[in-house]
Amino acid sequence: MTFVSLVFLVFMLILYPLYLVLPHRWQNHLLLVGSLIFYGWWDWRFLGLLGFTSTLDWWVGRLLERTSDPARRRFLLTASISANLATLGFFKYFNFFAGSLASLLAPFGIHLGWTTLHIILPIGISFYTFQSMSYTFDVYRRHMPTCRSYLDFMTFVSFFPQLVAGPIERAVDLIPRVQAPRSITRDALTRGLFLILLGLFKKIAVSDGVAPSVDAVYNATHALSGADVRIATWLFAVQIYCDFSGYSDIARGLAKVMGFDLMTNFDQPYVSVNPSEFWRRWHISLSTWLRDYLYIPIGGNRGTERQTYRNLMVTMGLGGLWHGAAWNYVLWGIYQGAILCVHRWFTRGRRALREFATPGWLRVLQIAIFFQVVCYGWLLFRARSFGQIVAFTRDALLEWRLPAHVPTPSLPALAGLALLVALEAWQAAAAGGRATFYRSWPAPVRGAVYAALLAVFFMGLSNAPTQFIYFQF
């Protein structure tokens, strides 16, 4: 079930009152059962994989606790990582690599009898695999004690608000919250409800409202103008941000009203002026995961400049592949790595652009320019084929025919986008980026903003619903 469905509403109406009245241990049991129902709603067979991943890493954690022999500990870590990545690789990448291999060998007259299997991709597998792996890493590094309770560990891995699309929580942060009694303050409740509203507004009113316009261009079977490509790509930037950050907002809001604090996953990424800043603001839980468990272990920026560039490219390339089994995601990752390298070379590793200290007008200009760089990445991300990437790149850069035939987004999408831009601009300019900036406003002003969000959300309910983009990852 998804957050934007009636069945989920019913689910929460049953689960939440029970959660409020139960004592701590029973709350955890309820969360675990609820999370398994939530996940199994898609396909009960997915539960087996979730159980396998959780059980494996819980056992490895217990075994790590019992030994201090470095070689044995390394072996256990390697076994856990290998098993997790093999599982992820099989379910997510087998067909991709088998198909790619078949395509590669075909020109040489070698035809593989088998190329693909009928494998269903378990929803959210990349997210919970990484989350579970973070536990093994942290126990191995002795950053946290072993989780003794299998039920607590299962609750941590399967915690339904962030199970299928993040944020990818660290075991060191979330397991203690599972284990300790939780209190739900008025502050957490109001903030949580606001986040849920904001997330629903972003997803239903804006993201779903612009999706048909994006699809009309990226799924087109006819010739397009450069204006079509540019407008659709800008709109896709809006779509993916509102879709993904909307999901994260709802997840964080749901967690908050249950007494949990999940990490901030998006921090106004489109006000970034360079790729380094962008990755500190976009999908923070993944970028920090990759930094801590991949980039730094392979050397980070501790070696020569050349090694640093290599590490950046490897990290971002694999980060791209994490998104999906397709070459355009790899290309997107390589592109992100490349612009990070260029930026690093340009600034010689220093924050030469003084991201937060430039004059307002110059920063706005930098934001506008860098947004185009980000959007080209989105073109790579959204494209359906290599041929489309080539054609769209050519059209976007060299083709200036008018008019554009992109369908106009729905009224709630346009109204929602205007409202969102106003709120984000206020947050960036007047509130120094503070996410709870609206709380300092007088009650009538807050009431007006909430009413506007609700009104546009109601209008947006007429948009044709689309699946959350990141569910496929």
Partner: protein
């Protein structure tokens, strides 16, 4: 910072107050015109999309036809009125009877512009589904002496085959006409289940008499799979903009689910009642025309979002019957916005191209085999279009 309870209450009340104020203000500013003949402003229409069908009908239907909304007058099977539509062709002309909707009419008008001997008789209504066109054709049988009868099947109207009123499945901007709901009997023939209301006068009577309205609703509940009391019945909620917006969202959800049972990404669903009915209707139309000595032509109008789905669903059946047919996707991709006007109809140039192709097919049959006879295989309409026809596709 833990907000005080009084602050929370104040914020909640302010939110509610602003919502109520916005509801009232939007309702006042974006009002539908009092005169149903006046076209509404786009935003007024947007906020009215979710009004109940009954309240829309009350606004559209005035005491006199002349004072009612034009769309309310369109498409009625009764009263039986030929108006200026010819029943037979004068010497030197050939009568082409056309049953369908604006897509069909625009294409056949282009056909008549290409061949001055063609005299058109057009019957149908906005978004007319094939069952509606078929009912018009049935009412013409025995009275009209046409050389050619064209049934226009619009892909996006196939959904209306399990309805008996255009108002139920065109919820947001409903035409009001009704038509029989056809069900397929054991021998594969379409059997009509006539609507309770047959004319605009019948709508007036139902709006004035709750008993008749209930009888109409009972018939809709029986014969119209799109009927939903929540969407049909007027209530005090029609006065609230946000209630209308929420009702519209509910309607969209219901309609998406309904449409998914008829049509999916891969095409029309083989197990859908609509497709079974459609095949029975076109089969009956083809055989009936032949029995009447008329050449049957089935136009498959594949509008945006349907690719060649109609041709794939009906082409084999039409070929099996040796019927003359043409799918528009063969010559023009409705997925290309350059082929469409802002309202979704084909651009005139495309209609002309389609009309030329249709005329060539009609001429290839005419004189070769005579009316009502299957075209020779080499002239099969499923052959690839000539390059000249495909130009600009």
């Amino acid at each position: 910072m833990n907000p005080r309870r009084s602050d929370l209450l104040a914020t909640a009340l302010w939110t509610l107050a602003f919502l109520i104020a916005a509801d009232f203000a939007l309702g006042r500013v974006f009002r539908m015109p009092a005169d149903p003949r006046q076209p509404p402003a786009p935003l007024a229409q947007y906020f009215d999309f979710g009004a109940s069908i009954e309240s829309k009908m009350r606004r559209m239907v005035a005491a006199e036809d002349s004072a009612s909304a034009p769309v309310a007058l369109a498409g009625w099977l009764e009263p039986f009125n030929d108006g200026n539509a010819p029943l037979a062709a004068p010497a030197g002309r050939r009568l082409v009877a056309v049953y369908g909707q604006s897509f069909t009419f625009q294409l056949t008008q282009a056909l008549a512009a290409l061949d001055s001997t063609i005299l058109l008789r057009t019957r149908g209504g906005p978004s007319s589904p094939a069952s509606h066109g078929y009912a018009f054709w049935q009412s013409d049988r025995g009275r009209v002496h046409a050389e050619v009868a064209i049934l226009g099947v619009l892909a996006s109207s196939v959904r209306g085959l399990d309805a008996s009123s255009a108002a139920t499945w065109e919820f947001e901007a409903p035409p009001l006409y009704t038509y029989p709901r056809y069900r397929v009997d054991a021998r594969g023939r379409p059997v009509p289940h006539p609507p309770y209301v047959l004319s605009l006068a019948g709508v007036r009577a139902a709006l004035a008499d709750p008993v008749r309205m209930r009888a109409w609703q009972a018939q809709l509940a029986r014969d119209d799979d799109w009927y939903d009391p929540l969407l049909w019945r007027a209530s005090w909620l029609d006065h609230s903009v946000f209630a209308r917006v929420l009702r519209r969202a509910w309607a969209q959800r219901q309609q998406r689910e309904h449409l998914a049972r008829v049509h999916g990404r891969a095409g029309f669903r083989e197990d859908s009642d609509n497709l079974r009915t459609l095949r029975a209707l076109i089969g009956s139309f083809v055989e009936g025309c032949r029995a009447d000595g008329t050449l049957p032509v089935v136009l498959l109008l594949e509008d945006a979002g349907y690719a060649d789905h109609l041709s794939r669903a009906l082409g084999p059946e039409l070929d099996r019957r040796g019927a003359l047919w043409m799918g528009t996707h063969e010559l023009a991709d409705a997925g290309n916005p350059a082929n469409l006007k802002a309202d979704g109809h084909f651009i005139p140039a495309l209609n002309e191209r389609l009309a030329r192709a249709l005329l060539a097919r009609l001429d290839s049959v005419r004189g070769v085999a005579g009316p009502g006879i299957a075209p020779p295989r080499q002239d099969s309409p499923r052959r690839p279009a000539p390059a000249s026809e495909r130009a600009g596709k």
